[in-house]
Amino acid sequence: MSAGDVILEVAGLRKYFPVRNVWKRRVGWLRALDDVSFSVRRGEILGIVGESGCGKSTLGKTLMGIHTATAGRVVFEGHDIARLKPHQSRRFREHLQYCYQDPGASLDPRWTIRGSLHEPLIVHTDLPRPEREARVREMLRAVGLPETHLDLYPHEISGGQQRRVGLARILTLKPSVVILDEPTSGLDVSVQATILQLLLSLQRQFGLTYLFISHDLSVVRLICDRVAVMYLGRIVEIGSTGAVFTTPRHPYTQSLLAAIPVIGGRRVTETFALEGEPPSPTNLPSGCRFRTRCPKAQPLCAQRDPPLRADWPDQQAACHLAD
């Protein structure tokens, strides 16, 4: 396959969680994902950004099958995997892997590093033990750890090293797409930089495609080729990183960008205008879901839900008023 073809396609993906009252009667739906569509091309890094509650983590977990989609399609390497649980679609998912916010926490504390690294290969392949061992050692070297770590337990190595082992564990299956869920959240900047470097070098080394879920726009700008901005379960803007960051079309994207402190620049505390907080996803406003906070909202916005408009090169935005 050539570079640039679509490797993962998401169409009309919905994930509703039932909201129940104290008697467990369903009183409504929490629309964590509401008609999300996008495609990921081989070899690119697609950033998914948004604030807490926008559905970006649900998106990652639904793609992985940890949550079962309510509706929609997830086509990965030619197979629709949206409604399958991970162990059912094991064959298809071997090359689609999910990396936790803290990959170190994905290690079973009672298993040695060797055990944790062998497990994906035991589950997905029939490789004999020596071959697995060789692959495991190769991956450990790739993430920059000595082979002597194989016999240690997670609590015997530092947090940063646990992260590296967690990454190595995902890479042993030679995935083509890796979903990175907030890989830098909670990290100090100096550590964050080393992790980003590692992610980029692994991407080059193994020809990976990343779906990079993050709330940190600075990081997304730095490493992503394209970026999708989510608000309350929907993509409100998607496009190349350059286009979205230099000419944001959606008012929400504009506010998000305005909220990032830029050292040496104007102070956000003097200029920031957006008020309020996102409404609850259990009780969405009519029409455009950003209209309750939008400085430009018009009567039209309350009536019709704007679709993603592909009116700009490399960029789409879901806003009636954007130009």
């Binding site: 940890i66 991970p86 162990h87 892997q97 926490a105 290690l107 589950v123 997905h124």
Partner: protein, 284 residues
């Protein structure tokens, strides 16, 4: 494992408990050699009935003139057989049930848990009496009654622990990796909750021994002349308070064994409890 052993060794109460349990096991194994009158389990000597403790009968004799010391030693075998078998059955039923019900969420797991709720809603002893009474007095039936009343404890414990483990990132990661449910349950969840199961089992052992003795006391245990401790106490009632040794020594034996399991269980909980362990890891 070595860390657990070392920490446990520092806990004097737990070591006392462990000592009592080891003593019980040794006594049960070597009963024929330790007993002064090994034949007295079945034989009786009416001439010596109800003699007080002395050089011939260290702990006195019972109403049939049999040596209480020897009967106690052989009683330890019955106690161990009943407790270990009953608990083993309870664990074998309760743990897989709790695991499956905790792992899958749905009507099936709700049903399993409601069943265990029903069992827990009836006092254990009453249920055990009802079962033993219906089936008739024998060792097998005591074991059956005990395991039938005790399995819900393990089911509930494992259910709750499994539910919370399911939210642990490493379990979720294993699921996302494509591990089969069986693999996740047996290789990831079970080892992580094993310490709770061990603690519960140790403490449960004491409770089971106590219930078994109660059943024996009520005449629902193994029939005479089995030297069951609870039955021995029951027999002694008509000879109290003159023949104090008749009830006191079997009572002491029950007390020490139950206390042994409880002390060890408490000690194990302090050492193995995940919350406490996590706190000590942060300190390092």
């Amino acid at each position: 494992m070595r860390r657990v052993a070392r920490k446990l060794a520092e806990d004097r109460a737990a070591m006392l408990g462990l000592g009592l349990i080891v003593l019980l096991v040794l006594v049960a194994i070597f009963a024929p050699w330790l007993a002064t009158h090994p034949g007295d389990v079945t034989e009786f000597h009416t001439a010596r009935r109800l003699s007080p403790p002395g050089p011939e009968n260290w702990l006195g004799t019972d109403r049939m003139g049999s040596d209480i010391y020897s009967r106690l030693l052989f009683g330890a075998r019955i106690t161990i057989t009943i407790a270990v078998t009953a608990i083993a059955i309870a664990v074998v039923i309760g743990v897989p049930m709790g695991l499956v019900a905790g792992y899958y969420e749905g009507i099936g797991s709700d049903f399993l848990m409601r069943v265990s709720d029903i069992f827990l809603a009836v006092p254990q002893i009453v249920l055990a009496i009802a079962i033993a009474q219906t089936l008739g007095p024998s060792i097998e039936n005591v074991i059956l009654a005990l395991s039938a009343t005790y399995w819900p404890f393990w089911a509930r414990l494992v259910f709750a622990e499994t539910r919370s483990m399911k939210n642990e990132p490493f379990v979720e990661a294993a699921i996302a990796l494509g591990c089969s449910p069986l693999r996740v349950m047996v290789l990831h969840i079970l080892p992580s909750i094993s310490s709770s199961i061990i603690v519960r089992t140790t403490i449960g052992m004491g409770g089971t021994i106590l219930t078994a003795a109660t059943l024996g006391f009520l005449g629902l245990g193994p029939p005479p002349p089995t030297p069951e401790w609870g039955r021995t106490i029951a027999e002694s009632r008509e000879f109290l308070p003159m023949a104090w040794w008749y009830a006191a020594f079997p009572g002491l034996a029950i007390f020490l064994v139950v206390m042994g399991f409880n002390l060890l269980g408490d000690g194990l909980r302090d050492v193995l409890d995940p919350r406490l362990r996590r706190a000590s890891q942060h300190g390092r």
